[in-house]
């Protein structure tokens, strides 16, 4: 048996785009600095322009509306563009194209035109970039009917979900937490070839009986660490990775919480009106009578992302925050 193939998240994403471009000549990339010699500010598109050509790995001006607009038009005309918005905060600069056009065009046209495009964007705090280069704004897209949203938590999912996103016939916001790109602690096994991960199918990352932790993205690792600590105290946690927020796997969540009767939702986006609010509401609507405790939410502080490293560390939810939230559901 061969050794498992361990990869970093950035490499797995690169492989997904390489495979997609090799499989289908309608796939192309566009974004700021993505071509060689830079290969993207985070090197995620490294080497792809050398292999597939500058006409398919297109460097753009710093013009987010032009990037997303061009992707939308090309997608309607039959291409499968992958647009990169360098930082998720910059989504605010082109939100009209995302929410008014990419999201709504299928519906407004009565299904005559579709927008099979992906917007890849790097996001999240922890890098010391301050308030305008660190936000998690996935609910912008969740609140725009017509957009799909994926947030991978492992290198294998980063690759498999991105492949699914590229070949999906709807626009997808693909959120990549930049802390995961080249950090070895997030490394993982990645299958060879065109292996896709379906949307709307949650992964049970750990089975448990007393409480269900529901999360996505980089915070999965913190949830698993919290579950390990809590196990030592005799609390058995089930940990669910949503993988995609639109669509999200309601059946898996309700089935699990129905069994454990307790739930904690965790994400890096600020808590107020984060995706956890939707999760918590839905769980209360469906399972109110069966719950042993109110659903608890864990998210970032309801503030802009601070710069100073101590404040930034306090801003992001920690393993201790998750443990404390689980403890609030006990007793």
């Amino acid at each position: 048996m061969s050794e498992p193939r361990i990869m970093l998240t950035g490499m797995a994403l690169n492989e997904a785009m390489d495979i997609a471009m090799t499989l289908d000549d309608k796939v192309f990339l566009l974004g700021e600095d993505i071509a060689e010699p830079s290969g993207g500010v985070y090197k995620v598109t490294k080497g792809l322009s050398d292999k597939h050509g500058l006409h398919r790995v297109r460097k753009t001006p710093i013009s987010e509306q032009a990037i997303v607009g061009a992707a939308i038009g090309a997608a309607i005309a039959g291409y499968r563009p992958v647009a990169e918005i360098m930082m998720m905060d910059f989504l605010a600069v082109c939100l009209d194209q995302v929410t008014n056009h990419a999201a709504k065009i299928r519906y407004m046209s009565g299904g005559q035109t579709t927008v099979p495009m992906v917007i890849r964007t790097s996001a999240g705090a922890g890098m010391g970039f301050g308030a305008q280069h660190s936000a998690m704004l996935e609910t912008f897209a969740v609140h725009s009917p017509g957009m799909k949203v994926a947030v991978p938590s492992t290198p294998a999912d980063a690759k498999g979900l991105l492949l699914t996103a590229i070949f999906d016939d709807d626009p997808v916001l693909f959120v990549e937490q930049m802390m995961m790109y080249w950090d070895k602690s997030y490394a993982g096994e990645v299958p060879v070839g065109d292996v896709r991960v379906p949307f709307g199918k949650a992964a049970i990352r750990r089975e448990g009986a007393d409480v269900t932790l529901i999360s996505y993205g980089r915070q999965m690792r913190d949830c698993l660490a919290a579950a390990e600590l809590l196990a030592a105290d005799g609390v058995s946690c089930e940990v669910i990775d949503l993988r995609t927020l639109v669509p999200w796997d309601e059946a898996a969540v309700m089935q699990s919480v129905g069994r454990t009767s307790r739930a904690v939702v965790v994400h890096e986006a600020v808590t107020r009106c984060g995706f956890g609010a939707e999760l918590s509401s839905r769980i209360h609507e469906e399972l109110f009578g069966q719950l042993s405790a109110p659903v608890q939410r864990v998210g970032s502080a309801n503030t802009p992302v601070p710069y100073a490293s101590n404040l930034e560390a306090d801003f992001i939810p920690t393993v201790a925050d998750i443990v404390a939230a689980v403890q609030r559901t006990q007793g």
Binding site: F28, H55, T60, P61, S63, E64, Q65, A66, V68, G69, A70, A71, I72, G73, A74, A75, I76, A77, G78, Y79, P81, D96, Q97, N100, H101, I105, R106, Y107, M108, S109, G110, G111, Q112, T113, T114, P145, G146, K148, D168, D169, D170, F199, G200, V246, P247, W248, D249, E250, E278, S281, R282, E285
Partner: protein
């Protein structure tokens, strides 16, 4: 137009084709306004009256497989690109038989079969999207061109700048048609725009820019032809500013108190469709009877379209939830469906 012959005019077929398009636009608009005024129909309506010659001017240069993007004041552009009257009327009235099954409405008419790809309700937003159609044609190696229409107001929004620059950098086969009707919503251009001619802005992107009298169908036809030929042959984009006037304000029901009464009266007295009709007859390109026959045919087609639309049902209630996604994702989101 004057009563003198124009050596720069196209052949007779093209002249009559432009007249037919202009008549469709004018007569459709008149029907919409009379039905709205009499309360027979109710919808948000942006009259294109006065701007007919511009759409007809590019309309006769385009093939069915060329792309057009337009905005909420788009009826004239829809008709010039050949969107069929029945489906167009049904869409304006929100009927199941409309181009978009009644789910888009007048501000979002889409008919890919005719090449009418996007109608947006957001000022300037079509410009970056038009580049995508141009890019698709460029990547595929076809000679399809894209015409994107917008108003003078759109030239002051960021999407215009981003889109024009990218089109120039990538030499995209896109014709940017600024239908300058001298008003952005309720504000005259002189109070919103720092240049006298929108076409001057093209120089800052390194693309050709030209201003034409958009009420002169021959001059407009010529300028549009040059821009289309440039795009089709790989010569890149052009900004065409076609100066015109909108007869009925921003929106049906607009009191137009911000418009100069004498200015509007003069513009309506110089109705470009009426002048063109007279010019065709005076210069022997068509007889009165031949043009009247075209108008009768258009009127009959509109009668048919109105009847078709009025007798069509509204979309089925189940359509609320269809076309959100291409798969069953919407059904998975039970909570969201409420």
């Amino acid at each position: 137009m004057s009563d003198v012959e124009r050596p720069d005019a196209p052949d007779r077929d093209t002249l009559l084709q432009m007249f037919e398009i202009q008549s469709r636009i004018k007569l459709c608009d008149e029907r919409f306004r009379s039905m709205l005024m009499s309360g027979q129909i109710r919808l948000i309506y942006y009259s294109p009256r006065g701007q007919e010659c511009i759409s007809a001017g590019w309309g006769v240069h385009l093939r069915q497989d060329d792309y057009v993007v337009t905005i909420y004041r788009g009826l004239h552009d829809h008709l010039a690109k050949g969107v069929p009257l029945r489906e167009l009327w049904a869409e304006f009235l929100g009927r199941a038989t409309g181009t978009c099954k009644g789910k888009g409405g007048p501000m979002h008419v889409t008919h890919p079969e005719s090449g009418l790809m996007v109608t947006t309700g957001i000022v300037g937003a079509g410009i970056p999207i038009a580049n995508g159609f141009g890019l698709a044609a460029q990547l595929s190696g076809t000679d399809q061109v894209t015409v994107v229409n917008f108003g003078d107001g759109a030239s002051n929004i960021g999407a215009f700048h981003e889109g024009m620059n990218l089109a120039a950098v990538w030499k995209l086969p896109v014709i940017f048609v600024c239908q300058n009707n001298l008003y952005g919503e309720h504000t005259p251009m002189s109070m919103s725009t720092g240049v006298e001619y929108i076409s001057e802005r093209a120089a800052s992107y390194g693309m050709p820019g030209v201003t034409v009298d958009g009420n002169d169908p021959i001059a407009t036809w010529k300028v549009m032809g040059e821009a289309v030929a440039r795009a089709r042959s790989g010569g890149g984009p052009t900004l065409v500013e076609a100066r015109t006037y909108r007869f009925w304000g921003h929106l049906m029901g607009d009191a137009m108190e911000y418009m100069d009464k004498a200015e509007r009266k003069a513009a309506m007295a110089a109705d470009p469709v009426v002048l063109y009709r007279a010019w065709l007859i005076d210069n022997g390109h068509a007889t009165e009877a031949a043009l009247a026959e075209i108008e009768e045919q258009v009127t009959a087609a509109i009668d048919d379209a109105v009847e078709f639309a009025m007798n069509s049902p509204q979309p089925d209630a189940s359509e609320l939830y269809t076309d959100v996604f291409g798969d069953d994702s919407a059904a998975m989101l039970k909570g969201a469906a409420r």
